[in-house]
Subunit: 336 residues, 2 copies
Amino acid sequence: MLFMEDLCNLYDIELDALYRLVEKGVKRVLLHAPDGFKPLYKCVAGVFEGRGIELFFSSSPGYGACDVPVEEAEALGVDVLIHLGHLEYFHHGFKPGVSIVYVPVYARPMISEGVLGELTSYLRSQGVIGVSISSTIVEEKIRRIIAEHLSSNGFRIHEVHNPLLGCLYTHVASLDNKVDAHLVIAGGIFHPLGLALVSRKPVVVLDPYRGRVWSASEEAQKTLRKRLLKIYEARISGVRVGLIIGSRLGQYRSWLIEKLEREALEKGYRVYKVSSTYLNIERLIAIDNALNLDIYVVTSCPRLPIDDLDDFYKPVLTPGEFLMLLTGLEKYVYPW
Amino acid sequence: MLFMEDLCNLYDIELDALYRLVEKGVKRVLLHAPDGFKPLYKCVAGVFEGRGIELFFSSSPGYGACDVPVEEAEALGVDVLIHLGHLEYFHHGFKPGVSIVYVPVYARPMISEGVLGELTSYLRSQGVIGVSISSTIVEEKIRRIIAEHLSSNGFRIHEVHNPLLGCLYTHVASLDNKVDAHLVIAGGIFHPLGLALVSRKPVVVLDPYRGRVWSASEEAQKTLRKRLLKIYEARISGVRVGLIIGSRLGQYRSWLIEKLEREALEKGYRVYKVSSTYLNIERLIAIDNALNLDIYVVTSCPRLPIDDLDDFYKPVLTPGEFLMLLTGLEKYVYPW
């Protein structure tokens, strides 16, 4: 059984900024983390406890750096919102009304020699010499060790220091011409899939949590075929389009909404603008019951149509996919 | 099949305020309604269309007058948020930063002679002479017709003009000493149950949508037994309590949170304050994974523990129930 102290020991959490908050005399603090990191609340609460500081724990999800519960911080009137697990989100229009401190969380390296050996063998078997290596902020320390290992084993490494986000892979895909493959250090399929959707090169994954090496390209091909089918379905579904707009501070992208609306109107589409806070199948059903449109385009987060809403009974597209439909582009456009 | 025009004809929607908005020159408008009324978006959109007004449709739920998507209105920068289906919500601390226009929606009377006859027979069979009659704002016009019918049939009527809310029944229960029973005009069990939980008198329901008369008292007794069991379970579960605080503008009740925290600390409880936006089983699991507390108390909306979270694997109490636990009160306390 995993006890709390063990859990805290699995991660390096940068607490310096939090101790500085205590010194500065903060009185009310809201802690927030993605669900997977919420158990780490207990690892940082000790910084504030017993010092007359009122501490609140957010139960709300954190689907990305774009999704922090600013409205909760405002309602509670806290001095600072502390978010665990993502770096500060830079985005045109993202100007939170509360002070937010972003606390990086790093998984401690726990990579076996066996997996490293498996990785080098696999890359060699695929004829890979030049390889990019990328990860989210969480796997940054593991990534460094693996980069050094590959480098000392004769691979030509392009380590990508800017972390991956669910909607940001262009900084890795732009290395396509310089590498034979991309290596992603990640648990699960979410980030490897995002990269594989936009890169022409094979995406190899080292999953440090399960201790295995695998290729994401096949799964990405399946997803890509599904997405192209959605675009085709959307093309023959009709011209009444619901443009879904996110109100989460990092998900409201007015320039994109205006661009899509303008281009859609030019092509004869009728545009209905739908606002959303947390979009899921239930919310989409509620709005489709009301408006009964032909297709929906999600401008808040491009992962929603791909990962969460692909079973909806009408086509739900990303902004990039909708632009492909409007302009006839054949190369898959992601993210946007 | 029910067509859109038919749907609009089932309700009287007070559009005057909306035409006045058009005259005043509003440029950006957000429409919002509870899911059940979202199909009425189409019945009011015509007021704004073709006049150069930018119209947005909210996909977010509206669980009550306390739950309007102010954050969406703010993100979109609309001139006005129009909410269909509830009257303005008066609540200490409810000061939205955007202009909100509340548009009442009234179900058009469509009550058959047969059901009216069934009602009078049923009330007489129960020996009822004095009876209160109440409803939400939606059934107000139906309620008036039924009140007149009962009055002209010799019943002593106390018509309650202030509408029912999911958290507000005291204005009806306060008539307990003046009536033999309470009559609620409502579809479904939600409002009859709320009243029956706090009244000592039988609660009779006329459901105008299904055309039937029934007694809510038996179902309320079942719910009441369940709630008392939850309080008992909570009493023996431990002293680490999660006080869940709602950030929705009408659900943040600081006075109640302070009162509960103070009384809990006095009784030796350890209080953890949890913030929430939309609370459901998934969010409760996420926070329980993090904090692993003994019991939870929901201060945002007293219906959540009763209607939505009663299957959670730990006791989840309303504020009133938690006070019963703390003070040893035996009479069921609702709402709070």
